[in-house]
């Protein structure tokens, strides 16, 4: 044991070392992660355990840090959208739209109504996909694999709709500055309507399986709870904050992309524990479905992208035929169009909470500085406090119910 200790100490003096003192205390050091199937991503937690009970935890993050903020300072606005895909990769369209809206705010571009409604549909679909993964995996971690498999088929159907709309499934790069790049094709609309028909019964079945399930309730109620006051102080947003009883939702507080046109409710919990987070996410899925139905019903006709703006790519047919179109195409793709000077903060309700973009433009072709307010990064710091005193298996459940996405955590 002594030899192992010296190896650790030489390598990194900050790592807790297995020394004799710990044996006197009767505590065990346990490395939860960085690569373990139950952590759903690369997170490491160095836990001090007293038997099965967690005494303290030190999270280590940054395993998939990809320097997005630095990269963004060297890319034209168009080329930053694919970076945002890789933040919360379970709900990429929300990140894409949030970024487009930030740029539109800077440029002063007004998106046509139809474009806004299409965006709302895509954002709500991706919110459903995001919550499906989180809740499905919560089931897996508590020992119920079936629900996960049920839901994953539906997530697949959502991704097929994305594929129809933008050509890709996971990292979507959907939409353009000023609106959407493609309208709903008849096939996409058929797939969407089929999803809206087929999904609710499956979701109801999933809820029947879990919501009043004695075993699941025993595993999740009073596990990893956080009070509303603490949650606010820790900067929680999204479903995790709402589960603690605070009805803060960016879609309602600062409506964007015509969210004020739709009628929906903000589900809130009371205890802020794992069970409440699960229930809040399930309820949000129903509300998202409501929004999609309304958007499809009220969908106005008209253009899907703002016409009078420098960032609109000319149609591909014209690029081959007309000189102006070719020039504009070249200038936009090569990022030759300068943006106005300005400083913008724009936030959208992401899958996990308030996803903010703080953009400073100095009038060049790239942002001078771009900072992502990543909800995961901000609320994950409360994790040690939430799990201290609980069992190891409860800590796993708490982690998956927080829906920490490694890509968003590490940016």
């Amino acid at each position: 044991m002594k030899e192992l200790n010296t190896i650790f100490a030489d390598h990194n003096p900050k790592l807790p070392v297995l020394n004799d003192e710990i044996y006197v205390n009767g505590l065990t050091t346990l490395n939860l992660g960085p690569t373990h199937p139950a952590t759903h991503g690369v997170f490491q937690n160095i836990l001090q355990m007293d038997g099965e009970k967690i005494v303290s935890g030190v999270p280590t993050i940054g395993y998939i840090h990809r320097a997005f903020e630095k990269l963004a300072e060297h890319r034209p606005f168009y080329q930053i959208t694919p970076i945002t895909d890789r933040l919360n990769y379970c709900s990429s369209p929300i990140n894409n739209m949030g970024w487009h809206m930030t740029v539109e705010k800077l440029l002063g571009v007004e998106v046509p109504k139809r474009g806004q409604y299409l965006r709302v549909i895509m954002m709500e679909l991706s919110r459903i996909a995001d919550h499906l993964i989180c809740n499905g995996i919560l089931g897996v971690d508590s020992g119920a694999y079936t629900g996960f498999l049920y839901l994953f088929e539906e997530r697949e159907n959502i991704y097929e709709i994305f594929e129809e709309v933008c050509g890709t499934r996971l990292t979507t790069n959907m939409g353009r500055v000023g609106g959407m790049e493609r309208d709903l094709t008849p096939r996409a609309e058929a797939k969407l309507r089929k999803f809206l028909d087929k999904f609710p019964p499956i979701m109801r079945e999933f809820e029947r399986m879990f919501n009043r399930n004695r075993i699941f309730m025993d595993r999740t109620i009073d596990v990893g709870g956080i009070t509303a006051e603490k949650a606010l102080n820790y900067g929680f947003t999204g479903p995790n904050l709402r589960a603690a009883g605070v009805d803060y939702d960016v879609r309602v507080m600062n409506p964007y992309s015509s969210y004020e046109d739709f009628e929906f409710e903000i589900p809130v919990g009371t205890a802020g524990d794992t069970y409440d987070r699960f229930i809040v996410r399930n309820e949000e899925i129903w509300q998202s479905l409501r929004i999609i139905h309304q958007a499809l019903e009220k969908m106005p006709a008209g253009p899907i992208i703002a016409q009078e703006q420098h960032y609109k790519l000319p149609p591909k047919e014209l690029v081959y035929k007309s000189m102006e179109a070719l020039i504009y195409h070249f200038k936009i793709i090569m990022g030759e169009i300068d943006a106005p000077v300005g400083e913008v903060y724009h936030s959208v309700e992401g899958g996990n909470g308030e996803l903010g973009f703080y953009l400073i433009s100095d009038g060049g072709r790239t942002p001078y500085r771009l900072h992502f307010r990543r909800p995961c990064f901000i609320y994950y710091q409360a994790y040690p406090e939430m799990v201290v005193g609980s069992q190891l298996s409860d800590a796993i459940l708490t982690l998956s119910s927080l829906n920490v996405i490694a890509g968003e955590l590490d940016a």
Binding site: K70, L71, L232, N233, G235, M253, V344, S347, A411
Partner: protein, 166 residues
Amino acid sequence: MIANQELLDYLIKKHGASILDSAEPFGLLTVHTGRENVLDILSDLYAHDSYRFRFLTDLCAVHYPQNKGAELVIVYHLHSLETNTRLRIKAFLDINDPVIPTASELFATANWMERETYDFFGVIFSGHPNLVRILNEDEMDYFPMRKEYTLEDPNRRDKVDKMFGR
């Protein structure tokens, strides 16, 4: 919503000389202050009866190398959830003396945000409980988001692109 003008009047009345400048880019009130006053303003707005700026949305830094004597800016985005008002506070720092008091006692969420800012810009938050690198590796001996560090090694010759050079 609290009107920007009302909030600005209150801040000037209460903190007078410590409000150096103000602006309203895209409707978001931005006030500039010095590092010795920023914590006073934050805690005053936190404790205020009706404003209640109790939610720290975001904290980050920006580097302006041309701005001699005030190269680093620490940007706080505050949100008053009861009144749904946002406020931006900026504090300017000299890059040779990048020290500012920590806000982590007021907002628990500032803990990691400040660690991130230290990690990328080398801003020292005095009084911070655990100011170590968070996303980069511990052995790193520079602060990569400062403007003097280019994205790629400038000595590389294999990626020179004269036509569209980034």
